[in-house]
Symmetry: C2
Subunit: 226 residues, 2 copies
Amino acid sequence: MHKRENVSMSVVRRLPRYYRFLHHLKVTGVTRISSTELSKKLGLTASQIRQDLNCFGGFGQQGYGYMVGQLCDEICKILGLSSGYKTILLGAGNLGRAIANHMSFQAEGFQLIGVFDNSPDKIGTTIGGLTVSDVSGLEDFCKERLPIMAVLCVSRSAAEQLAKILYDLGIRNFWNFSHYDIYLKYPDTTVENVHLNDSLMTLCYRISNNSISAKKEEKPEQQISD
Amino acid sequence: MHKRENVSMSVVRRLPRYYRFLHHLKVTGVTRISSTELSKKLGLTASQIRQDLNCFGGFGQQGYGYMVGQLCDEICKILGLSSGYKTILLGAGNLGRAIANHMSFQAEGFQLIGVFDNSPDKIGTTIGGLTVSDVSGLEDFCKERLPIMAVLCVSRSAAEQLAKILYDLGIRNFWNFSHYDIYLKYPDTTVENVHLNDSLMTLCYRISNNSISAKKEEKPEQQISD
DNA sequence: TAGATTGTTAATCGATTAACAATC
DNA sequence: TAGATTGTTAATCGATTAACAATC
């Protein structure tokens, strides 16, 4: 694992797909794969795959290809999937519940250690194996447990308030499902936004303007389950 | 509204943000805005905004800027947000519930007309104002009501089975939250994938490799609530 | 009119693809 | 060895940014 500098987000966003696909192959018992085979299954070019992987190191062998297990492990390391970053989730609505379950059964580098809400309906219920706490206990909790990441499954206005509190408590990483733009206010944070509305509106555009051009622009976003 | 050919996905994916932001301005009572002002608020260049908008028409006035209300309406039309495409949702788990509520209060071009699940726990419950039906009634329902879009909030294997059924029933548009790759099998479909796992793994990478380069690559993805 | 800001063309930048020497 | 496939450099393509004439 050499280089690792100036890796563009275009490359980084393809890594999870590589990982997932390789993991699937590994489980299936495939031990070896060439960039060409991989490219066909992923709908990318072999060239791109080799370029991408070589941002991180030379994991293949000329004339042979890549060892599936080894490459999968390398990407796992690159992504930092065994980091177990301590994480809290704010907002125990349907989305929060879905995310909490999702995160608990997908060991993807994070460890959910607390869930908070301000609604009496939700406080005390269990989600993702954790009891929902009153948001009034957030500060003490953070000072004691020192989470480094927060998932925001709350409204825009709640997100705005919470971002300030969490930032002041030292949290710099956010998985943000709200419309509030954390990054604008706090440029030294790492924010991954999930904008469901945008995705849906984009789909609406694509359906409404169902021209060949619109369709062919979109790369097939292939996925393999893990 | 002229041109509308060869509009790249890069442009299309920015439209929802423009729309949301302009809508917010409109509500706030702002009537006029220049590309420069807009660019500052969105973290884009003025040039890019003008380029993007001019894919669809010349909506501005030299020396003046853009009329917020008019531009907002135009983008609304471009996106097709009043289409009310008849939509069904498959999978009434937490994610399905969250999505159903989301879609019902966001009039974003779709009209949810049915929700299906195969679990006796869920059948008969209400989500997003609709009663969850047994998936055994899916075929009859589709033949009668003719939905054109399906939201898949189910597991990979269920998605694989359902995609076939839905495709055979004539559905060609999917909002896909599963890992199953519909587009690979059915290339004449329009699929918008939401890959929560990928998003989370990308965040894990960014935290693990928290270099300046990794951070600056990512454009601030600013959002404004609507 | 003068100032401002668009629409659009040209220049730059970055990402993808092609090609091929290195080498297993 | 011969065949295959990588790692990497060069060429191409597309998207973003800069510049400026048009014009409100």
